[in-house]
Symmetry: none
Subunit: 198 residues, 4 copies
């Protein structure tokens, strides 16, 4: 059944890039509309006008497809502020991060993607490689620069700090015992810079 007005597209081969683009757009729409619960190969195929065979050829799991759809919508902003003050930079980046996952549909989407990744090895690998890892690298580099500027302990492991800042936020996103607010992220930074001792 073709939508009226859309020109009847022949059944034969179409340029791969065109097909991929349409599929990914449809995947993004569906992910943000229905979440991972209602995200199926069938629906993406039907929305995009592609056949299921094509989807299975390019994406190893529905999670991997949803991840591509997610990126299409949330064009990743990887910029990391560098004002020379690492404390301020971390705070600024965390504020932006919390804003995105709290006040936009991206929050639930990313939570469900991480959830799906727990039973979808392909998705977990893709998520780490394409999303998580580059972001960690940016933060780690910023902290390394700060170490050279004398703003951080020279023996500090930036990766650990990343888990204590962004990891703490993800924890509240996935297991919302406590709210995820700006005050929370400010406290995260303060705890680390000032310590929690008396």
């Amino acid at each position: 059944m073709h939508t009226i007005g859309r020109p009847r597209r022949g059944r034969g081969r179409r340029p791969a890039d065109e097909v991929r683009r349409e599929v990914i757009e449809a995947a993004g729409e569906l992910l943000f509309e229905e979440g991972m619960a209602g995200f199926t190969f069938d629906k993406v195929a039907s929305r995009s006008g592609a056949s299921k065979m094509t989807l299975y050829k390019w994406w190893p799991s529905k999670g991997a497809l949803a991840l591509d759809g997610y990126f299409k919508r949330v064009e990743p902003v990887l910029a990391f502020p560098d004002t020379g003050d690492i404390g301020a930079d971390l705070r600024a980046q965390l504020h932006a991060f919390v804003h995105v996952i709290s006040d936009s549909p991206a929050g639930p989407a990313i939570a469900e993607l991480i959830g799906q990744a727990q039973t979808d090895p392909e998705l977990k690998a893709a998520y780490l490689r394409r999303y998580s890892s580059p972001r960690r690298a940016l933060a780690a580099e910023a902290m390394e620069r700060a170490k050279q500027r004398g703003q951080l302990r020279v023996d500090l492991d930036p990766e650990t700090v990343i888990d204590q800042l962004w990891g703490a936020c993800y924890h509240r996103l996935l297991l919302p015992d406590q709210p995820l607010t700006e005050g929370f992220v400010d406290a995260l930074v303060t705890n680390l810079f000032d310590g929690i001792g008396p």
Copy 2:
């Protein structure tokens, strides 16, 4: 289909408690054997000898059932050490925690439960109420006592610290960019007590 050897149990009524117990045991077995991916109502019903109808009567979703099965296997140890030294207590508790989720089948199981909870509201609510929340409370109370002993800042928010310690560990469990080791948890505590500044 009944396993050969298991006595053919009649179809009639059985005591509710007996049924519940057998179902939960079967759920726990299945969860640890096949993970959430292969965890279905059908299999639990078939293993336990109970009917699906009974399962749907008592558990609102397969996640909620799996959670009960999880508890049956991992009899929750809620004790929190109290030696009078909050730093040592946190460190000890984190070491035990990391040991459980790294070196026992409970780690993958809990990761998959949290994953499933992202698309299963019933499970998320049950998880927070029965698992997450009481553990947070124990840690928070320990920190409150430490504040009264003068070991922690009086204006410290224990909830935030919890996310920076256990939340950081969950982050590495769910998104294993970096390994989850004892050295890592030691660094978590050190960072918070000594600060990350120069």
Copy 3:
């Protein structure tokens, strides 16, 4: 998608007989509307409101299902005339047979069923057992009675005659080199009773 007006039927169990009846009726409709070419499990399931699982449980192949549908529509008339004159009886029966397969939708349907049976062992077996064999038996019995009345050679094999009468008609149905007319069946009988020699 349910037809508007048809009461939304719950998803649960329904009496097997009710389901079977609806399925077979739908199968018959579909067979006579679209022929075997367009006859699929999917369409029968959708028309009947039954699920494909149910169909696969009861019918080993789509041919077997179509055969049941065929019987539902063409309530088999197994009566064989017995006037005491075997020549007249055969002629009458053949006239009726040719009328059915030439001038009703049953002709194409039965041709396609036989066609499908060539690559569907389940259908072939069912067809022989339920359709072909009982009809042959009636004709054979009629000829045996005629032998006792002295109207046929005592050493005649009725089964061979059946293939020379009805088999000849099926041949023209399946491979229509020549038309299938009343004159043809009259000639069939004449040839056998009078011989073809000079």
Copy 4:
């Protein structure tokens, strides 16, 4: 995917005759190996090294292609014996025919082709024109000659006799209620020459 050892043939244009020959050979092989059930354009294309596009250009349906493959293997022997004794000639020809369709792979193949023809108009037309019709013509001509020799009734319709001999055999091939033996074909001829009356 090319079989190792077979020289990698370039992709460009090849002589049409060479392509046709290879396709038809592959079709014949496939038909006799897997029957119509497993006979697909895809497999013929892959076996022959031709592209599906080419197949669709020359054959209107898979049945038509299979028919060409059949002919390639069973080089049609159209000779009809002419000893001057029509009874003996018919008997001889029928014996040979029964031998072919009973004791060689051609029997199932031809049955499946006739089966497929019931839902494939192109195949039915081709079958009648190229296979059925010329063979009927030979038999009819032999009988016409016999009429002139005074061995058959002058008003006999040979076409009807053909259906009572070969048609009866096809009936037993397609719907094997009863076995297809030499005794059967002898009885067919006897019934027609001697009549079935007392």
